[in-house]
């Protein structure tokens, strides 16, 4: 029983991070129909920036703020300078550009910071939680991860749902031409969307690195699982991304705990195939058939 509980808790912690990462892919995809494969590399780079500060004795909060702000700025830069020029062409062009960017950023990080693994100190304790005589494998760091993702996702949803800026962002994503005719600066909204995704990605990257090892390629696995989570959720639904992330995290934890950790990737793939067979649009796809 305790084992199951611990595996579930572990799954939620993992899932929270996948969900955060899936959210940034969804943010960009629904506005521009592009999968940003450089998202993980951008997050990795800002994690390195945060690590430089932490290892120089700065408090974690300062490193966190710097990572988030630089993630925001990097996201805006990528959209405005690198993706915008190819955006008017076929979508595949922009996707290939983000793939190239992913390779370039990883290489740049390896040149600047070295290719070896480094240890990112855990911002909160790594002791488990003891509740009523049961030892739970939910460390302070895990709790921080879950709360941080919940708070960030809540703020993001509130921004989109309840503010005029959020309405502009959604209008620009779902009805570009109409939005422009109604005075929405669609270009600016797209840049802002990429910036928010960059911020969210940086948070995910930092949460994953905290208390474990990281290297220029440490986000690659997360990109794969985050992408899978986003596809499970339907690629354009925030709620779907969160559910997809949790499903994947739980699967990964349970399969690793009860079956074999080498089957984790295969289990994720099996779920993906199953969901896409039953619901080709993903679990929560909000898009409706468009007349062409």
């Amino acid at each position: 029983m305790t084992r199951l509980l611990n595996l579930l808790l572990n799954g939620v912690t993992l899932g929270a991070v996948y969900a955060a990462f899936a959210l940034c892919l969804v943010l960009i995809f629904r506005a521009t129909r592009i999968i940003n494969f450089a998202q993980g590399a951008q997050a990795m780079f800002t994690t390195y920036l945060a690590y430089q500060l932490v290892s120089n004795g700065q408090p974690y909060v300062v490193a966190l703020v710097v990572a988030l702000v630089s993630g925001f700025l990097l996201g805006a830069f990528v959209e405005r300078v690198i993706v915008r020029p190819v955006e008017s062409g076929p979508e595949i062009n922009a996707v290939i550009v983000t793939l190239g960017l992913f390779v370039a950023i990883e290489a740049l990080a390896a040149i600047l910071f070295g290719n070896q693994f480094q240890s990112f100190p855990a911002p909160f304790g790594v002791d488990g939680l003891r509740v009523g005589g049961v030892d739970l494998a939910l460390t302070g760091n895990d709790r921080y991860r879950i709360v941080a993702v919940l708070v960030a996702a809540g703020l993001l949803l509130a921004l989109f749902r309840f503010t005029n800026l959020g309405l502009r962002l959604r209008a620009a994503a779902f009805g570009q031409e109409v939005a422009r005719l109604l005075g929405v600066r669609v270009g600016r909204m797209l840049t802002l969307g990429w910036a928010l995704a960059g911020l969210f990605g940086s948070l995910a990257g930092l949460l994953i690195a905290g208390g474990s090892l990281f290297s220029p390629s440490y986000m690659q696995g997360v990109v794969v699982f985050g992408f899978t989570a986003a596809v499970l959720g339907g690629l354009d639904s925030f709620g779907g991304a969160v559910v997809g992330g949790l499903v994947l995290g739980l699967t990964q934890s349970l399969v690793a705990g009860y079956v074999a950790s080498s089957l984790v990737t295969m289990a994720a793939l099996a779920i993906l195939i199953l969901v896409l067979l039953l619901r080709p649009g993903g679990l929560f796809s909000s898009s409706v058939a468009r007349r062409v």
């Binding site: 109409v178 005719l181 109604l182 007349r291």
Partner: protein
């Protein structure tokens, strides 16, 4: 209000508009008629800046807006309801309406309630996604949204497309009433020439990108030769 002079718009080597001129005065409905491919939609898209003309000018209240940004048009007093309704189906009905007044700092909730009074079918479903609406309700939604932008000129692209005659009559009556009460200038593009001429003050007939006739709406409707040749009724 709106002055269009010698407008030329081309898609590649094909001229979609060839030296088109017309006036769209305040308090009047100007209907642009013609068959498919006559250049009607291109005219509206060029006026609102979605398509850039090769030559010619567009003036709004005496100011040149030929090369103004699309995003600025609403600030200058122009609202464009594009072809195919332009409802954003992923947003709720109320959110679609709010988009209309978003650019104005002084927008009030009361104005949205006013739209609901004009189109009661929308009110009960204000929190529902706009893709639940029927074709006629979608047209009401986009007209309501355009009015919330408080335009001086309204560009309407084929509002009757795919709608039942009764709904078309209802929407046209609301537009007519608004024009008479507020002095709004309307540039209406229609394939359904008969209904359009029944509410318009002036008719302009386009054929292959050229203006072939401009006249009082009643005179156009009475001109049998023109009707047979270009208007199909």
């Amino acid at each position: 209000m709106l002055e269009i002079r010698n407008l030329v718009t081309a898609y590649g080597a094909v001229l979609a508009l060839d030296d088109v001129s017309m006036d769209v005065p305040a308090g009047r409905i100007t209907a642009v008629l013609g068959a498919n491919g006559a250049g009607k939609t291109t005219l509206l898209r060029t006026v609102s800046g979605l398509v850039r003309p090769k030559a010619g000018t567009v003036q709004l209240e005496g100011k040149d807006i030929t090369n103004a940004q699309v995003e600025d048009m609403v600030h200058r007093g122009m609202a464009h309801v594009p072809e195919g309704r332009g409802v954003i189906a992923e947003l709720t009905i109320e959110e679609n309406l709010r988009l209309g007044s978003l650019w104005r700092k002084d927008a009030k909730q009361e104005e949205i309630e006013e739209v609901y009074r004009t189109f009661p079918a929308l009110e009960s479903r204000r929190r529902l996604s706009a893709h639940t609406l029927s074709g006629g309700e979608r047209q009401m939604l986009v007209v309501g949204r355009a009015l919330l932008a408080k335009p001086k000129v309204l560009l309407l692209d084929e509002p009757s497309l795919g709608l039942a005659p009764r709904i078309v009559a209802q929407i046209f009556a609301i537009v007519r009433d608004l024009v008479d009460r507020t002095g709004l200038a309307v540039l209406l593009v229609e394939q359904n020439a008969k209904s359009a001429l029944s509410i318009a003050d002036t008719g302009v007939v386009l054929n292959l990108g050229k203006v072939v006739a401009t006249d009082d709406a009643r005179a156009l409707a009475a001109d049998e030769g023109l009707r047979h040749a270009f208007l199909g009724f």
